[in-house]
Symmetry: C2
């Protein structure tokens, strides 16, 4: 029996047992009002002096914030109770009486204090709502891909070389040699598509970026689908469908959590097919008109993405970036080889990039040329070049950042709340 | 349209288009027999000289192993074809003609050669079957837990300290400081149960063990469920149910892959509730009788686990190990404080440990004492001790190793084949 079942109205009139923690309490006349958290939600429980044995009423008086307890009682509908239901307690047992000094008892705390107490902060209703939505987003990604025949093929974390430059890599001493923590599993799922046609990896990725921004973590999770015999358009279509599915799933299953966050869901309801699309070239013109100092050829930065993102009510693809601003493996546009068949998906409401994707180069000669132009060590990519030597096919894929997606869906100001134990350049504790 | 649909008998008599790779071919009279892989399975396709245009028949003659191609044709049932169906080709297009030097063309190769060509080795039917089963095992774990109300809470990869000793930790330079790659997410899911009641983490874990054995990788995946208000018995019950569910799911959905591996499924069919149970003390007696040099108090090693595992037809729990042989956080047995309420689950057929689990100490004083006895730095565990200060509850959990589980289910000799890109003390490439 769980609080969520009570809140769903499934246990009204029934006798229940709930095991949980005291969130807070107040007293009025002969009634104590307890708010209890059991892991599935929060419920009000009342204990009436004239309905229980005197020692139970006295025991309840001792309860402090975050004490653990077991209660028994009957479920009644009550419009005045938060959530619309309450438990009238008949029995109560304290499992562990917390000392009265709960570190997060006050309403307001500085962010360092909260992060230093992340093990307790995650118990607050707001953090609970965010992390529950995170779990739903992860599950939505997996269900979406599994249902479409994608096969999970985990990419390695220890890698011998970098996908996108080496300056932002974590280097690990490795039995007298060295290895690097992965920044993306893409090259590896490009290999597994020849086994399974459609694959994805889903795991933590790492960037040793020194930038301390509200959108960066050193450790973050990415889902990276890859498809054989798949061109640029089909790739965008899958992205649209996947993001729409994620948002719809959260709206369907996590409305209670979105309410806790006071998230205005109107903008989320607008996330429908098809998404908006503009070319990089159009984006630069739009930015220049708005007064941004940007020249064609430069990559877009966070302020640019933010501006573009605010011009549309739906997620918008910015496609066909200059080849030189993007990674070596992207397929040139046949109609204009200065740009590549890539697109970044910008979430609306100013959130910017949540997906980066592209069609990959499948021609061996061209890929070798690009590796040379980008000054990369060819020997490190020999295995990757093999994929173009033996049965190369047009293929495409993308990477969706879980934390940035959760940040947008929850409409958070900072990415650090989107993961149970965030890691930043100044933090690996707790 | 996919090969798996053809093999399921859903497309018999229909016209299909298949995109894939040539696995091999032979010729007999006016017929060429192509075996084609499309990512969902292998299918025989025949091309008859008197049924197609001469240039198509000539084109097919050029095909080399691992060339990519598109075919159209009609599906016919044919008992002689592997899988019972074949495609009679009417159209054929080569997408990319591989050179005739496919590195894995020969039947037999040394293991180093195979691992150096892992990007191609994973295309072989055997590796494809293993990795498909791996994906099914991962999905089964997640479905099982999600369906029972467990909430995914990802544990961090960068950690400030070790769960079990520091000698087997990978140390990472971290912005002028240092961090360690996680060996287990357990301490972190112990924190998140106060938020969600039942949680799990599922991610890569790392051990810098120098031991080069067929059961060790430096990078491997673990699923670690944790439950509030849960004792030792309930924990074992969940493990039994989960392992049974995993095996049943693979038997149901991946019988084709088990056949490719020539896996005798009779032992897998015997995996039913309840599992066998023996105490550590009984295990030691059993080992001593069999001639092993082992004294009460020593931890069990691989040969011991292997022997015990061979004595039972089902998975067997070895429970209640000596406190000193196990981790600091395990709850003492109230009936004998020299042993702890832990159990390792040994897979049958000689495979040994696939799960380690325990009830955790929930009493603050006892946990502090253990940290001291084990010589661990208390400051590093202050956040973890907070979980016992504020609303501590009896709780239990376990960790299931994905690779060891796949190794057993597939009945493999070495763990390196259970993951797309294995990492060992001598290998981070490709």
């Amino acid at each position: 029996m769980s609080v969520s079942e009570i809140l769903d109205g499934k246990l009204t009139g029934k006798e229940v047992e709930i095991k949980g923690w005291l969130v807070n309490k107040r007293s009025s006349g002969g009634v104590q009002f307890l708010i209890i958290r059991d892991g599935t939600g929060l419920i009000q429980a009342t204990i009436h002096k004239n309905e229980v044995a005197p020692e139970i009423f006295e025991e309840a008086k001792k309860l402090t914030q975050e004490s653990s307890l077991t209660i028994r009682g009957s479920v009644v509908e009550d419009k005045r109770a938060p959530g619309g239901y309450e438990v009238r307690i008949s029995e109560l047992k304290i499992v562990h009486l917390a000392p009265g000094d709960y570190p997060l008892a006050k309403k307001e705390h500085g962010i360092d204090f909260l992060l230093n107490h992340r093990q307790l902060w995650i118990r607050s209703p707001r953090q609970m709502a965010i992390l529950r939505i995170r779990a739903e987003v992860v599950k939505a990604c997996r269900d979406f891909l599994d249902d479409r025949g994608f096969v999970l093929t985990d990419a390695p974390i220890f890698t011998p070389s970098a996908v996108e430059g080496t300056t932002t890599l974590f280097e690990v001493p490795y039995f007298g040699d060295k290895a690097y923590l992965t920044q993306s599993g893409q090259l590896y799922v490009e290999a597994t598509i020849a086994t399974f046609g459609k694959t994805y990896c889903f795991g933590p990725t790492f960037r040793a970026e020194k930038s301390k921004t509200p959108r960066h973590l050193t450790e973050f999770w990415m889902v990276e689908p890859e498809m054989a015999f798949c061109g640029f358009e089909e790739n965008l279509k899958l992205q649209e469908e996947m993001v729409t599915y994620i948002v719809k799933t959260v709206l369907d299953k996590r409305c209670r959590e979105l309410e806790v966050l006071k998230r205005d869901i109107k903008p989320l309801r607008k996330v429908e097919l098809p998404f908006e699309r503009i070319s990089y070239t159009e984006a630069v013109e739009m930015l220049q008109k708005a007064g941004f100092q940007i020249e064609w050829g430069e990559d877009l930065g966070a302020p640019h993405e933010r501006y573009i993102s605010l011009q549309f009510e739906k997620p918008v693809f910015v496609h066909r970036y200059p080849a030189k601003a993007k990674a070596f493996y992207m397929q040139p546009d046949p109609e204009n080889p200065n740009v590549v068949l890539c697109a970044d998906l910008m979430a609306p409401e100013g959130y910017g990039e949540i997906i980066g994707g592209s069609q990959r180069i499948h021609d061996l000669k061209l890929l070798e040329q690009r590796i040379k132009e980008f000054g990369l060590p060819k020997e490190a990519y020999e295995w990757y070049l093999d994929l173009r030597r033996y049965g190369s096919v047009p293929h495409s894929g993308f990477g969706l950042g879980i934390e940035r997606t959760v940040m947008w869906i929850c409409k958070l100001k900072h990415i650090r709340e989107t993961i149970p134990f965030p890691r930043t350049i100044t933090r690996v504790y707790p």
